[in-house]
């Protein structure tokens, strides 16, 4: 905890307004988001949740209809049940009480499934419509022979983001029957690099996002899982992560790259997981993120750039972990659970309702 000097206010209502605008609609220029709309929803709802303003800023009608829309993306079939990014891939579902049936080209997507579950928890859904056995089967269908997980069953496009989603969902369900944990650990270890961080896939360069995914997965694992790393390795990872903070106060994803707001989350959250949070220069990080605020709301990857929900959410989440010691109440945020990446109240809700039906 450090006291930042001359820190401007955190424009929470502006960031909430940015997210609400995105939830209401995105311009055609963002059509590439069509295949990851559920993630956009999660970043926007997550920001609302972190600010503690969600009840004030969305109506009961919004809440209900958004839940319905998410349930419409639940789809089941040969490989189990999960959530799709949006209705773009086809199968329509006009009865949210049962999952839609998918074809091989409209299967659920593992990352979108993680985003959908957390979004539903933020919206305080009771999860009565979740096909749990189907979800476990879906996770199992996504795991490949090398221990990695694919985005969709059989795609063989695995990387550490997917490993993390599989671990986070299993942890929420408190059911590990969908994962071969030993194989998954072996894959994570194959992604470790000489610098002390993890690459996105085996042989890849150390980078912040996958390093968070690796460490969070290793720590979410159930009792009886293998030892994640040696104490020497832990120190090496801590050193590498701390060195990603540069003179701007921001964090970069890789050695000798420029700082980017999203890595303030990935790297500081990774440090929090291995017990190194108190070593972060949080005052400098907050000053950097304050500069990344866009004047009309939202947070961008670097000062002077345009904001988006991804950077807005992850910056807010980084600040929630940091827990700044400042008298300026604008910087107050809901506490974050670093491993699952949701607020503590939302995680409690999710665990209470997801595990209760097992």
């Amino acid at each position: 905890m450090s006291r930042p000097a001359h820190l401007p206010p955190l424009n929470k209502s502006g960031h909430v307004a940015h997210c609400n605008r995105c939830l209401a609609g995105l311009p055609a220029s963002l059509v590439e988001m069509d295949s990851s709309r559920m993630a956009i929803a999660y970043y926007c709802l997550g920001t609302l949740d972190l600010t503690g303003l969600i009840d004030q800023k969305i109506t009961v009608t919004d809440r209900d209809s958004w839940r319905e829309w998410i349930w419409e993306q639940q789809a089941g079939g040969l490989y189990g049940t999960g959530f799709r990014p949006s209705p773009v891939t086809g199968t329509e579902n006009r009865n949210q009480n049962i999952p839609a049936e998918y074809t091989d080209y409209s299967t659920p997507h593992l990352i979108m499934t993680y985003c959908a579950l957390l979004s539903l928890a933020i919206l305080r859904d009771d999860f009565a419509r979740l096909d749990r056995p189907g979800l476990l089967k879906f996770i199992r269908s996504c795991q490949d022979i090398d221990g990695s997980f694919s985005t969709t069953p059989g795609a063989s496009d695995g990387d550490l983001r997917l490993t993390y989603c599989a671990f986070a969902i299993s942890s929420l369900l408190q059911d590990w029957s969908g994962i071969n944990v030993d194989n998954a650990f072996a894959y994570v270890k194959n992604c470790r690099t000489y610098e002390g961080g993890y690459g996105q896939t085996p042989f890849g360069e150390a980078i912040g996002g996958p390093t968070y995914c690796a460490l969070a997965s290793l720590h979410l694992a159930p009792p009886g899982a293998p030892v994640p790393f040696s104490s020497t390795e832990r120190k090496q990872t801590e050193r590498w992560l701390l060195h990603t903070q540069d003179a701007t106060g921001g964090f970069s994803g890789r050695t000798n790259k420029l700082a980017d707001a999203c890595y303030c989350f990935w790297c500081s959250a990774a440090l929090d997981i291995i017990g190194g949070k108190s070593l972060i220069n949080t005052a400098a990080m907050a000053a950097f993120l304050a500069d990344c605020q866009y004047k009309f709301g939202g947070i961008s990857k670097a000062p002077g750039e345009h904001p988006d929900p991804y950077h807005t959410y992850l910056s807010s989440a980084a600040l929630a972990i940091a827990g700044l010691d400042t008298e300026d109440a604008s910087w107050g945020l809901q506490p974050l659970d670093t491993l699952i990446n949701s607020t503590v109240p939302t995680l409690q809700w999710a665990k209470g309702h997801l595990a209760a039906h097992v």
Binding site: G25, T61, S86, G90, S119, T193, E195, P202, G204, N256
Partner: protein, 332 residues
């Protein structure tokens, strides 16, 4: 297959050759989350794509349709998956598809799907050698692009061919010549030298130590090079103290260096005008002293202190923590 010129293309709904297919509109409920205000051409093409998926048609015209969608939204993974199945089912020329993919790779460098498609094609074509010059071309667009490097590393590991491996160090050297701080190039070097297995004996270690020290001399504050040096030593279980003499040349201010001293090839001196002292060198030397135990402790503490107070103040808490840890661990 001729590339589609989207600006001039007739909507699928107005094409006679598509009149037999029933388009399927996208279903959204009354109040969807984050709806995208689609352009008419995207809406038109995806309506027909959903129609195709429904009938299960795998035909040459599907290749045209999926290409249109991919050019409008290269992250549309279902269009890519369907396109791949169609290529196989219609026995289309995969060599032609690779030519098209070359163009798409260049435009959509940061899109996962284009690289995954490329990987699937290569697995079938089994002709990886021409990929290496292509990737080098693509690196000129963005020399640190993560997907580009991952793909090259996958190719090398997957095919494990001597005629491919031999091209790698010259590439890395060219790139480090351009930018000695390019961490992607350093990482690739480590992968090629130490992770392919087998060829990392004593000669290799000597060569790599000489290489990295020469680069440190050029830019003493380059963390990529220091991490590479640490990487070699960790990997081969060599003590950091083997590099103490070298490191000591970098922890002093440049004025203190005697210009006349004899050239020592094992320990190249900082280049003229280099910014000294180097924080990375101070950190390294402190690690050397810490490993000595009690006798080195006070020297290590002094170095950490200088990092905390002067040379690397952003990490003040870390260096103070290192002092605390080492002091607590040491016997009285």
């Amino acid at each position: 297959m001729a590339p589609v010129d989207i600006a001039d293309s007739v909507p699928y709904s107005e094409r006679p050759e598509w009149s037999d297919l029933t388009p399927v509109a996208q279903y959204e409920n009354i109040q969807p989350l984050a709806p995208i205000f689609y352009n008419p051409d995207y809406k038109d093409a995806t309506d027909y794509f959903r129609g195709v998926v429904k009938t299960g048609e795998l035909s040459p015209r599907v290749l045209d349709l999926t290409e249109t969608i991919i050019r409008l939204n290269p992250a549309h993974y279902s269009a890519w998956q369907y396109r791949y199945q169609t290529l196989i089912a219609t026995k289309s020329s995969l060599a032609d598809e690779l030519i098209l993919t070359n163009e798409l790779t260049r435009i959509y460098l940061k899109t996962y799907q284009v690289w995954h498609h490329r990987r699937l094609l290569l697995t079938l074509l089994n002709d990886p050698l021409p990929e290496l010059p292509f990737i080098e071309e693509i690196l000129k667009v963005d020399v640190k692009n993560y997907h580009t490097w991952s793909y090259r590393q996958w190719l090398l590991a997957h095919y494990n061919r001597e005629d491919m491996w031999v091209q790698e160090l010259p590439l890395v050297e060219r790139l480090l010549e351009e930018d000695v701080r390019n961490n992607s190039a350093w990482h690739h070097r480590f992968f090629v030298v130490f992770e392919r297995g087998g060829a990392d004996g004593e000669d290799t270690v000597r060569q790599e130590l000489a290489f990295v020290k020469e680069k440190i001399a050029l830019a003493p504050n380059n963390l990529s090079a220091w991490n590479y040096l640490r990487g070699i030593l960790d990997h081969k279980h060599l003590p950091y103290s083997t590099q103490a003499d070298f490191t000591k040349l970098y922890v002093v201010s440049s004025i203190a260096l005697n210009e006349e001293s004899v050239v020592d090839l094992e320990n190249p001196r900082p280049s003229k005008g280099a910014q000294l002292p180097s924080a990375a060198a101070i950190e390294f030397l402190a690690d050397v002293y810490e490993a000595e135990g009690e006798s080195g402790l006070s020297k290590a503490v002094e170095l950490w202190r200088s990092l905390a107070d002067e040379h690397d103040t952003i990490r003040k808490k870390y260096w103070e923590y290192r002092i605390r840890e080492a002091t607590v661990a040491a016997p009285d």
